[in-house]
């Protein structure tokens, strides 16, 4: 059985992973290579790296950065930002990317979706759509112009599916960094209308938000950025909570299945007697 995926979004600005709030404010987090190495060890199902400065600075993808960052990435890596032609996609593949995501290009040169899926297969092409809420309706948002476009996200999603996109990543601008949970209404509208997998992103605060979006919508994957960065083993503990209700891949050596969590789903301290006993338990290292 295919499992729902837990993805991590890395927003990269000028070579540094940043925390993004409403697509306007950015706080530095650290180096992409380190973030990827840790997320990978913690059992993330896939990583989506988006370079938000590439197109803005009128540059192509930062191949050296990707090459360096992908070295210890043993889960699928999607790279987006600044992609304008299939030559760049080929180069990204050689730098360790497994899939690419198109955002500005999907809006301004949709033929690239078709060209890319023809050469690399449609499973390789993700179209990333930024969506903002406007008078009870949704519109596609242009992050460069910082302005909504007169374009319905559902219609746009169907269009890019027909053009050859293999997956759609839908980012909610309103929920970005807001810790209010995923926009269920938005993801229902889109995932009901397309047959290709939909990845939702924006608003996750803890495992309950993942559970909600997986039970109430048909999305195939849910992604979070900020909240994975700031706690040790954030992915393992989140997955341990989701795994209790929904079948997901939960195979990390540290699985937190015996731990308890508080109402905010923060890890509770083990009892003193358990900690005492742990002094005498030999924890074997996993052998690969």
């Amino acid at each position: 059985m295919l499992k729902k995926r837990i993805a991590a979004s890395l927003v990269v600005k000028d070579g540094i992973v940043v925390q993004s709030i409403n697509f306007r404010r950015y706080l530095p987090v650290g180096k992409p290579a380190i973030a990827i190495e840790f997320l990978n060890q913690w059992g993330i199902d896939e990583i989506i790296l988006t370079d938000i400065s590439a197109t803005r600075n009128d540059q192509g993808p930062d191949f050296q950065m990707i090459k360096h960052a992908s070295r210890k990435c043993f889960v699928p890596l999607t790279v987006g930002g600044g992609i304008k032609n299939t030559g760049q996609i080929k180069e990204l593949m050689h730098c360790g990317a497994d899939k690419i995501s198109l955002n500005q290009a999907a809006i301004h040169q949709p033929e690239l979706i078709t060209q890319a899926s023809r050469i690399f297969g449609n499973q390789c092409v993700i179209v990333s759509i930024d969506v903002i809420q406007n008078n009870n309706d949704y519109q596609v948002y242009d992050y460069l112009l910082q302005h909504p476009l007169n374009l319905s996200p559902v219609a746009f999603a169907k269009k890019v599916q027909d053009l050859g996109a293999g997956e759609i990543l839908v980012n909610s601008v309103d929920r970005d960094g807001a810790r209010q949970g995923f926009d269920i209404e938005l993801y229902n509208r889109i995932s009901e209308q397309v047959t290709i997998p939909v990845i939702c992103c924006g608003g996750a605060k803890n495992a309950n938000d993942f559970l909600e979006v997986f039970t109430r919508t048909k999305v195939s994957a849910a992604s979070a950025a900020n909240f994975f960065h700031f706690t040790e083993h954030s992915v393992n503990t989140t997955k341990a909570n989701i795994f209790r209700n929904i079948p997901i891949r939960h195979e990390t050596y540290a699985d937190y299945e015996d731990n308890s969590f508080d109402e905010e789903l923060r890890l509770k301290k083990k009892t003193d007697s358990t900690l005492e006993e742990m002094l005498f338990i030999r924890i074997e290292k996993e052998i690969i």
Partner: protein, 209 residues
């Protein structure tokens, strides 16, 4: 266990060669090369045929670089072990119907066909799925039954049961791994399947003396 094996990842332009070499280097095999040169391929102890992309594009690239003949010599005549990954595995079939019929390498009888799934199953089949082993030697000796691998494909290799070494359930039974003599193929991406994938590489290289 030897880290001295000469591993060559066959480069034909469209594969994700760097990802695979990252995974293998992480395991400590220092003599890993990415190449399309006959001299280097013929000196290898073991070959990896990667794959991302469309079948016709892959086959075209393989033939333009004369790799079909070079690989036939190494794999069929000299019986060198080879592991095909994703499209690399599909290339081992008679052919594929992706973007019209295209002939493959003809190593394992069978056809690569479009995923025809019951309703509610999205194509491509993308994500983590658990697999069932039929033959756990040599690829799965270090993995547990029902472990997860990362799949990402719209077409699958339909072949005779005797060549299947593992399958996965996605509305239909999809062949996840095939083998015939010295030829091995996996539909999923071990280089992107975290620890499960690294264990598969380790098991495969260990099985080769």
């Amino acid at each position: 266990m030897s880290y001295k094996q000469k591993i060559v990842i066959v480069d034909y332009g469209v594969g994700n060669t760097f990802s695979i070499s990252n995974a293998i280097s992480f395991l400590g095999y220092a003599k890993t090369k990415i190449s399309d040169k006959e001299g280097i391929i013929s000196e290898a102890d073991v070959l990896i045929l990667p794959g991302v992309g469309a079948f016709d594009e892959a086959v075209k690239n393989l033939r333009t670089r004369n790799l079909d003949n070079i690989l036939n010599e190494q794999v069929i005549v000299r019986k060198k072990p080879i592991l095909g990954i994703c499209v690399g595995m599909q290339l081992m079939a008679d052919g594929s119907e992706e973007n019209g019929w295209h002939d493959g390498l003809n190593w394992i009888p069978g056809k690569v066909i479009k995923l025809q799934l019951p309703n509610l199953f999205a194509v491509p089949h993308v994500g983590w799925n658990n697999i069932k082993f039929i033959k756990n030697k040599p690829l799965f000796t270090r993995n547990n039954h029902d472990c997860h691998f990362y799949f990402d494909h719209s077409y699958w290799f339909d072949c005779d049961e005797k060549f299947i070494s593992a399958w996965t359930d996605y509305g239909i039974k999809i062949n996840a791994a095939v083998q015939r003599d010295n030829i091995f193929g996996v539909q999923f991406h071990p280089e992107k399947s975290q620890t499960s994938g690294l264990k598969l590489f380790r098991a495969f290289f260990n099985s080769i003396s």
